[in-house]
């Protein structure tokens, strides 16, 4: 008799263990990418004239645990060639499905900056080897917080609205960054062959940019020799130079057409970090392809332009412009730093996708860039993308 509760507990544990195991699904995706530039004078996206197979290669495994119809937990491990395939958890969240239309997720989720942000690494889902870098060069891992997704249908349109709130503390383009009060939305509308998307994200952003920290410290050093109002003005100006708890925003618009086998995609984005020596950036791409059975030839043009934050020159405190900061005046130093943020990149790309399997594609692309700072560079890449 005394054994019965034990037996019950064991049986229950066994049953629930089985049920749990049955409800965990593993899925994943992988890309194997090789590339090289045409000559030793060309370098682009980490490639040179010796063939490289690890820059863009990756493999990811996702575990989805479904507790019941409404509750699930998801974890995605990503191993990138560039990081010696060391697995990193890029997504980790639990989801509560309120209804067919509404779901709420909490955890580490990717910020939906762009149309392709969320599935940027699932390259099987698009036709490029990689998304156009002038637009998509700005990307970093997920935020920690909440995501609300609302799906509905009206008048023949499928609508998906995502609202996010959270924070980020980690690396942004290999610099330490903190993003607070990250708030945003992404709205995608789809009807037959037409897809429209708009997104907007804003936050309070701090990024540790070594050169700007040094410049800011230099101006504070100047202030230490001044008195009264000028010292205060210089200290406040020093804070204006570095991106520290500054208001940042990112907006994007996208259009997709898939009609009679003609594929047209365009996206425009714009972002800025106010009150800092980071440039306001505008970028767009347009892409035209044609689906001929399993083959899709594709041509893409993309451009990115960063405007120098000239307004900072107007903010140099009165009477401080001629103070010497090292060998030059403060005004000269700031003018040089402002000018240095200005960049312009143009990109042309021709390539194709070939679906050799229902879950795998072979791609090849020739990329030509023209950058104000680094000149003209070419790159040939080929890839095998798959989902499993």
């Amino acid at each position: 008799m005394k054994l019965q509760p034990w037996l019950c507990a064991l049986t229950l544990a066994g049953l629930s263990g089985q049920a749990m195991a049955a409800d965990i699904k593993f899925r994943g995706f992988a890309s194997f990418v090789g590339g090289l530039t045409p000559s030793s004078s060309d370098t682009l996206y980490g490639y040179d004239d010796k063939v490289d197979f690890r820059n863009d290669s990756l493999i990811a495994l996702q575990a989805d645990a479904k507790l019941d119809e409404k509750l699930s937990a998801t974890m995605q491990f990503m191993a990138r060639g560039i990081n010696d395939y060391e697995p990193v958890v890029e997504w980790a969240y639990i989801t509560y499905k309120v209804s067919d239309e509404l779901q709420l997720s909490g955890g580490r989720i990717r910020i939906p900056f762009y149309r392709y942000s969320d599935f940027i690494d699932v390259r099987y889902t698009y036709n490029w080897v990689k998304v156009p870098q002038p637009v998509y060069g700005f990307e970093f891992p997920g935020y920690d917080g909440l995501s609300l997704v609302y799906n509905n249908e009206f008048g023949g349109w499928d609508s998906m609205l995502q609202i996010i709130y959270g924070q980020f503390n980690g690396e942004i383009s290999e610099m330490d960054g903190v993003i607070e009060d990250l708030t945003g939305f992404s709205w995608t509308l789809n009807r037959d062959w037409l897809t429209l998307r708009a997104g907007y994200v804003f936050s309070k952003t701090s990024i540790h940019v070594e050169a700007l920290e040094e410049l800011s410290a230099g101006v504070k050093y100047l202030a230490s020799f001044q008195g009264g109002q000028l010292a205060a003005n210089l200290n406040s100006f020093a804070d204006d130079l570095r991106p520290y708890r500054d208001s940042a925003n990112f907006g994007g618009l996208a259009l997709g057409i898939d009609h009679n086998n003609v594929l047209f995609d365009a996206e425009y984005i714009r972002y800025e970090v106010k009150d800092s020596l980071l440039a306001e950036t505008d970028a767009f791409f347009v892409s035209l392809g044609y689906r001929a059975g399993k083959w899709i030839p594709l041509v893409t043009y993309s451009e990115s332009e960063s405007k120098a934050p000239d307004y900072l020159l107007q903010r140099i405190p009165v009477g401080a412009g001629n103070l010497l900061l090292g060998p030059a005046t403060l005004e000269q130093v700031i003018a040089g730093a402002v000018q240095a943020t200005e960049t312009e990149t143009k990109l042309w790309e021709v390539g194709f996708r070939y679906d050799f399997h229902h879950s795998a594609a072979f791609k090849m692309a020739w990329t030509q860039t023209d950058d104000a700072a680094t000149g003209k560079n070419g790159l040939l890449r080929f890839a095998v993308d798959l989902v499993f």
């Binding site: 899925r27 995706f29 990811a60 996702q62 989805d64 479904k66 998801t74 995605q76 997504w91 969240y93 989801t95 067919d100 779901q103 997720s105 989720i109 990717r110 969320d118 599935f119 690494d121 699932v122 099987y124 889902t125 698009y126 995501s147 997704v149 799906n151 249908e153 499928d158 998906m160 399993k294 679906d355 229902h358 879950s359 594609a361 989902v387």
Partner: protein, 136 residues
């Protein structure tokens, strides 16, 4: 030669499509029209007209009935459908229906699951399931 292959594929395709039927459990009394299929199989709706739960099943990607259903009803190639679900699965925004190995397995599944709905090749149908639509 090319024309012959094209003609054969058209003939074969047309015949095979006429042989794809949509089945549910015999206890399911909902009227199902062709317009109901896309929302159910794209998991935009998870209930039948009477409000009861609907569980759609796919066949595996290289099944002929699957290819025809994807093309004619969902308006996508199997590859496009794979891309569609990949976008949702890897971003936590949706889960595709389970895939069954073949029509016989789908018939067996639907026979035991009152919430199930599946498409199968007509030849596999038994009296244990109810045919609600024959696709034209």
């Amino acid at each position: 030669m090319k024309i012959l292959i094209l003609m054969l594929s058209v003939l074969f395709g047309a015949n095979a499509f006429a042989d794809v039927v949509v089945i549910v459990h015999p206890s399911n009394n909902n009227t199902i029209t062709q317009a109901d299929l896309e929302p159910l199989f794209m998991v935009k709706k998870s209930t039948f007209a009477d409000g009861s739960k609907a569980t759609p099943y796919y066949l595996v990607a290289d099944d002929a009935a699957r290819n025809l259903f994807d093309d004619k009803v969902l308006g996508k190639s199997s590859g496009q459908l794979k891309a569609y679900w990949s976008k949702l699965v890897f971003t936590g925004k949706g889960t595709p229906p389970a895939e069954l190995a073949n029509s016989a397995e789908a018939v067996a599944k639907v026979a035991t699951d009152p919430t199930a709905i599946a498409y199968v090749s007509k030849g596999a149908v038994s009296s244990a399931v109810k045919v609600v639509l024959s696709l034209q």
